[in-house]
């Protein structure tokens, strides 16, 4: 019932490639000293954002995390204004007030990346409350990590969403690490989805490197939410190819290179492309054309950012209040 059409498959692939290329180039620009501040990159986790977001429209809401670029891209974020925000330019989505960690776009239903781990789920519950209050069939999806699943805010939000039967979906991106601490050192369970039982909602574990698997599981959860049957906790097992912050992947003290290499064998984009080629949905040439087009977009986005004006210092106090 949740079988993706060929168009949806190609759409998901394009979203994933957009994330991968954007993040890779953003990392490069940060290393080059062109992007200030901290970047938490989404490379390796693309199947989750794409597999969920392809079910949503601009009227559906999401809350994101400190690793939020991928969510915004998959929700339709434009590269020019995203790069401009990362560069701290006046033309950025947040006019240079938010940066990587607070990038957002209300018109796309993206309620912000968030610098506070676990802050998003209660806000998503508020957005879900809003759609129910107004009797629409919109949903709110909250992305958070395995680390955030230990925050009290997550528990409060999950309980309230289930209690009020709100159209919410809690998507746990379990990348195995809360910052630098492996999951086995921060919680006694293996599956965050086990916690769903404690709130009275379904808990589902899915391979977060498999775009189609994410698509199907997310589709079921979102359909359930839209139908008024309440929230779902969907745990996607995934992996961070880069470090917690920045672009380094290998030679890290808190994880082994072998572990990274094992996960890279299951690169979500490579696996998906093999699948699409086998299905005859996307040829190698067609896939290459996607990369070319996305790379051109990225190049244009960087150029837009680099030629955009810096914020006028006179705007410092703008928008503290309405």
């Amino acid at each position: 019932m949740n079988q993706p059409s060929d168009d949806v498959l190609r759409d998901m692939h394009r979203r994933m490639v957009r994330i991968r290329v954007f993040e890779t180039e953003a990392g490069r620009m940060a290393e080059a000293g062109k992007i200030p501040g901290a970047l938490h990159l989404y490379v390796g986790e693309e199947a989750v954002a794409a597999g969920v977001m392809v079910h949503l429209s601009d009227d559906d809401w999401i809350t994101s995390t400190h690793r939020g670029h991928g969510h915004l891209i998959a929700k339709g974020g434009e590269f020019d204004r995203m790069f401009a925000e990362l560069y701290g330019r006046a033309t950025g989505y947040c006019r240079g007030k938010g940066g990587s960690m607070h990038i957002s776009n209300m018109e796309l239903g993206m309620l912000g990346a968030n610098g506070i781990v676990g802050a998003g789920p209660p806000i998503a519950v508020g957005a879900a409350f809003s759609t129910k209050f107004r009797n629409t069939d919109r949903v709110a999806v909250s992305f958070f990590g395995d680390g955030a699943s230990n925050e009290g805010s997550f528990h409060e939000a999950a309980n309230m969403a289930a209690l009020y039967k709100l159209p919410a979906v809690f998507v746990c991106e379990n990348n195995g690490y809360g910052e630098y601490t492996p999951q086995k050192n921060h919680q006694a369970i293996k599956d965050v989805a086990d916690r769903a039982a404690g709130y009275g909602m379904p808990g589902v574990v899915v391979d977060g490197m498999d775009a189609v698997a994410v698509y199907e599981a997310a589709g079921a959860a979102i359909e359930r939410a839209r139908a008024g049957d309440g929230p779902t906790l969907l745990e996607c097992k995934t992996y961070r190819f880069f470090d917690h912050v920045g672009v380094r992947g290998m030679g890290l003290s808190y994880r082994t290179d072998e572990e990274l290499q094992e996960w890279q064998k299951r690169d979500p984009i490579h696996m998906f492309e093999a699948q699409l080629a086998q299905l005859g949905v996307l040829s190698k040439d067609a896939a290459a054309a996607v990369y070319d087009a996305v790379s051109a977009d990225v190049k244009a986005g960087i150029e837009f950012a680099e030629t955009s004006p810096l914020p006028d210092p006179a705007t410092l106090l703008d928008d503290v209040y309405a």
Partner: protein
């Protein structure tokens, strides 16, 4: 307008009723607000009138409740969030300080957060250290929030309605020892403008700047001074953020002397900020240093004798003000 005497708590209920009547997108959420009508009776009768979709009982989950308010407001509703005791803000400070207060700014102005938070401050009821605090300074230190502190039933209703019509997060810090006090309140809807102090007693010799329940103590102190031939002016700030410093300065320029009074702990309280602004802007008009009256640097104690020793009152205001006057 038809006016009659009602209590402070009844005025809150009238304000809440007005909000739900005039704004279809408004709802009230908090612990025990619906079925119980609020632990102080602030929302009595609203469940029957508006139903559980508009007045929502929540789990005891302050962070979840405030987050619900943030998410609902950002997506187009006008939530009224009740935090039963302001002491409980420790449970939800991230959603207050890092989300509610900053979202609009971080998003470059793209988000609108019309949230009203109603909470209860103040000691004097033997509720001890965790149910008696006056923590408004926490909130006033956060750009993005507005903070109002009604001293009277009239202001409780008027500031609550004003908060709900404001497109910013506004904390309406009520006072629990004021709940049974009575005063004239119009039956109709009206607002008390946020950011406007009120001179509640005019005088020539001394300015007492205060807010919330301490307004009554300041007025009592002023009566004591009157018997001694000293004419004190009393200013009820009503709004702490934004702060109507102009009304304060105009008064101090006239009297040349000022005492700032609040129930909150004196150290790092609002009194320090107000005193600093007075000396920055009216130094040449001052005949004496600005004095401050506040609670000592201690948790609020339980036993009555300790609690009364702790609390600022008219007597302490008089004693401090005498130094300023040079008596």
């Amino acid at each position: 307008m038809a006016e009659r005497e009602i209590t402070y708590v009844a005025a809150i209920a009238e304000g809440a009723t007005t909000i739900l009547n005039e704004q279809d997108s408004a709802f009230i959420a908090g612990e025990d607000v619906a079925g119980a009508g609020g632990v102080f009776g602030s929302y009595r009768g609203l469940l029957d009138e508006f139903g559980p979709g508009r007045i929502v009982d929540t789990p005891i989950s302050e962070e979840g409740i405030v987050g619900l308010g943030v998410g609902a407001a950002a997506t187009g509703l006008r939530p009224v969030i009740d935090i039963m005791f302001m002491d409980f803000m420790g449970e939800c400070m991230d959603e207050i300080a890092n989300q509610m207060a900053k979202m609009r700014y971080m998003f470059g102005g793209a988000a609108k957060l019309p949230i009203t938070v109603v909470t209860m401050s103040g000691a004097g009821m033997n509720m001890a250290a965790q149910h008696s605090q006056s923590l408004e300074a926490w909130l006033c230190h956060l750009p993005g929030l507005k903070v109002v502190t009604p001293a009277t039933p009239y202001d409780a209703k008027g500031l609550l309605i004003a908060a709900s019509r404001d497109d910013n997060p506004v904390f309406v810090v009520m006072n629990k020892l004021s709940l049974r006090t009575s005063g004239p309140v119009p039956e109709e809807a009206y607002t008390v403008p946020i950011g406007q102090a009120k001179v509640v007693r005019e005088g020539e010799d001394l300015t007492i700047v205060t807010y919330s329940r301490m307004v009554r103590e300041a007025l009592t102190a002023a009566e004591t001074f009157a018997k001694e031939g000293i004419d004190a002016e009393v200013i009820d700030l009503r709004s702490l953020q934004p702060l109507d410093i102009d009304t304060v300065l105009a008064s101090v320029r006239k009297t040349g002397r000022a005492v700032v009074v609040h129930e909150a702990v004196r150290f790092a309280g609002l009194g320090g900020e107000i005193a600093a602004q007075i000396q920055e802007q009216a130094f040449d008009d001052l005949d004496a240093p600005v004095a401050r009256v506040g609670a000592p640097f201690s948790p609020v104690p339980f036993s009555s004798v300790l609690e009364q020793t702790y609390l600022p009152n008219a007597e302490k205001i008089v004693a401090e003000a005498k130094h300023v006057i040079g008596l």
